[in-house]
Symmetry: C2
């Protein structure tokens, strides 16, 4: 059995994520080491408070004055990163507690995950005694762009509405990396590691109240404290969507999860029932976790189920319609007046209907003309799903123009467009038009916005 | 009802794909036009036979001597691309027939897809009379890297084992573009368009016999001639895997498919039953079509269902195990001797089992050590699924080393690895180690190799 978790107040976590100063215990001058990379990332993130590298063998690390120990800094320290071997961690945490440090991000491994339960317990005792909140140990750190606080890798600088909380550092890094490359951005990232102290519930609570967070994406293998999770979850779910991917759904997966973070992996069905009760949404894959979070970082959930598909690629439109139908959305035919109006504004070779097929030679402007006409004639449309299925420049500018004029979500797929696609894909996501690489994925994203 | 399709012999299609000379009817000097882009792609593909631009208003196009008409060329022409407005196409085909042209790739639209059935019928009559095989009309062309014959866009140069046949030009382009960017390559690509003459069955037959094709990926909305499809399919399925994504599975999707290419979209269940009878495999999404084709372009299907997962990311390993289990594969525990042997060769912090978790600090060499040890101790393993869940350099070199030593498929996921990932991902695919971006997608690919 796991011990009962302490519950962190919002102000405790706020002091960690909004830290005014940071010390890196184990900062290294060797570019091959994590103690170098993390310090380097924190500097390159543009962190504005003082940074204190702790390294007894160096005078300076990466151009910053280094100190032999935390006590030698002689100035207030809010948060420390711990990258020294695990056996030294309890001592570091004890010293940190004495100095008034609020939080420790313990990257180091060598604890419970390899059977060293006593070492982990000693560190937790020191933390509780000194009032230090621990994230980790054995974790990939935290990132909070609002405070330019990256104590993690890879470096993710782009700020957006998506908070990532993950029991797997790699899955957090992979999702954060996508959000960076696609210009979606994150509001925060936390790799939980062994979560000996601060746990998923504390973090869901924190990001639930965090003004820059619009959606919370969670990868988890088991919940540390069920009552706390239910209690926090119910409150947060009222305000913000929380999407959960659970590792260890199958029997063999569950066994693997239990040896991964030595935590109790909940039984699949019980976990699913709990999520439903709370109002969290279960997703089935890493891609789905990312895609649904990406759209909910920009678009609020809203009632409705009618989707209008507008495409330049007939085949891609059909594939989207199939998935929308299978997901229970309504790909309703146009009204007579809607059809008549579109026939007026569009060239005769366009196939007027739902999907509306503008065909392969369409310029991006024709999408705008179609959406503006439909906005007048078909007020019942709840969401526009646009497929740019060819190299179509100016897709982003046109989407922004329609978004100005239409009070409905506009999401897109950009596919088959070679070099133009690479440019437009990133531009569109950066301009907060959630854009996906296939018709299936954009259809699933539509489902996550519309509540039926 | 559709007319009964003509059946093309292999030698007819061979003369088209292995054309010794090509004329581009409608070659343009304007870089904005398709008649420029296609000629440009054919040149940049490195096509070695003579290329004849046909353009009555230019002496030269893209540095090549232009001719006012096909008849003016005065030399044998095997294949023509038709990019002039549709209304001129029947005349061009008639002229081509008189000159002994074997095949015409009709890119032009303006036929049946907009209700001009008579124009299309006139073109087909001219083709039949003159012995010209038509691909299209209203299509995105063909690409056959073995003959450096790209009469299509975008330019795809990389040759591999994957043949793409698609009723959607955009879906063909999207899949071909991925295969080019990931260094997987294609053996051929055909966008069927209205398929007024040469149809999916002819092409499945051709690529079934094509020595460079290992797997055939088909996107289709309906079959042109059911008997022909069954007949050809049964023969080809004995030799090569054929994967089929059907557009128009749902009622609304089917309606859209019928207005897309004016073809009879088969009812979902009947189509599925036919595929099973033939021995083709149905897939559910564009990503699945690509992923399964990608692995089968390199690995032969084989009996067996036992998969060994080796990972540096605990969480990603668990996600893979869940999907493998859900797909009916066997993530069997290790034998006592297998466990003992791994404990000998690996550091003590590795979690020995299935998944085998090498943990985040592992170098690529440790994967090789593990695979070589397991190859001796666990002969029952049917496939190795490797997850590189961190920035791990030299993944490709190590995979090649194990592949030399082990006679089992080795497939990989590379995730969360930042810049190193981009480099290794392409290197691995280029070295014929099929590599995927998520644990779910690599697990599905494993399923498509193992026949149970």
């Amino acid at each position: 059995m796991e011990e009962t978790a302490r519950k962190y107040e919002l102000r405790d976590l706020d002091r960690i994520f909004n830290a005014s100063s940071v010390a890196i215990v184990g900062a290294s001058t060797n570019p091959e080491k994590l103690g170098y990379e993390i310090l380097n990332n924190l500097i390159n993130m543009g962190y504005e408070g003082p940074i204190y590298p702790i390294n007894p063998k160096a005078d300076e690390v990466l151009g910053l004055k280094a100190y032999p120990s935390l006590s030698d800094v002689g100035k207030p320290i809010d948060v420390i990163a711990v990258i020294v071997p695990g056996k030294f961690a309890p001592g570091v945490i004890e010293e940190a507690g004495r100095l008034g440090v609020k939080g420790a991000v313990v990257i180091s491994g060598g604890f419970r995950e390899i059977g060293n339960d006593d070492l982990e317990a000693a560190m937790v005792s020191a933390a509780r005694a000194g009032g230090v909140g621990i994230i980790g140990p054995n974790c990939q750190g935290i990132n909070y762009p609002a405070n330019k606080l990256c104590i993690s890798w890879p470096l993710i600088k782009c700020q957006g509405g998506l908070a990532l909380i993950s029991q797997s550092g790699t899955i957090a890094a992979a999702l954060g990396d996508r959000a960076e490359k696609e210009d979606i951005g994150i509001s925060g990232l936390v790799a939980l590691g062994n979560r000996c102290d601060i746990d998923e519930s504390d973090l869901i609570n924190f990001f639930g109240a965090d003004p820059s967070t619009e959606v919370i994406a969670v990868y988890i293998e088991g919940v540390k404290d069920g009552d706390k999770f239910m209690d926090v979850g119910r409150r947060v779910a009222k305000d913000k969507p929380v999407l959960v991917l659970k590792g260890g759904r199958t029997e063999r997966g569950r066994q693997a999860a239990e040896s991964h973070t030595k935590s109790i992996a909940g039984r699949g069905e019980i976990f699913d029932a709990a999520l439903r009760k709370i109002g969290f949404e279960k997703v089935e894959s890493i891609d789905e976790l990312y895609d649904c979070s990406k759209v909910l970082a920009v678009e609020k959930k809203r009632p409705g189920r009618r989707v209008q598909v507008i495409t330049s690629s007939g085949g891609s439109g059909i594939v989207a319609v199939d998935v929308l139908e299978e997901l229970g959305l309504d790909v309703a035919p146009l009204s007579d007046s809607g059809r008549a109006r579109l026939k007026e504004v569009l060239p005769s070779h366009c196939v007027v209907g739902n999907p509306l097929d503008l065909t392969g030679d369409t310029p991006a402007e024709r999408y705008t003309e179609a959406v503006l006409a439909l906005a007048e004639e078909e007020p019942g449309i709840d969401l526009y799903l646009l497929i740019f299925g060819d190299p179509i420049p100016r897709a982003m500018e046109n989407c922004l123009e329609m978004k100005e004029a239409v009070d409905k979500p506009i999401i897109a797929c950009y596919i088959g467009g070679g070099e133009v696609e690479e440019v437009e894909f990133k531009k569109m996501n950066g301009a907060r038009i959630p854009t996906f690489p296939t018709p299936e994925r954009v259809a699933r994203a539509a489902r996550s916005v519309l509540t039926g």
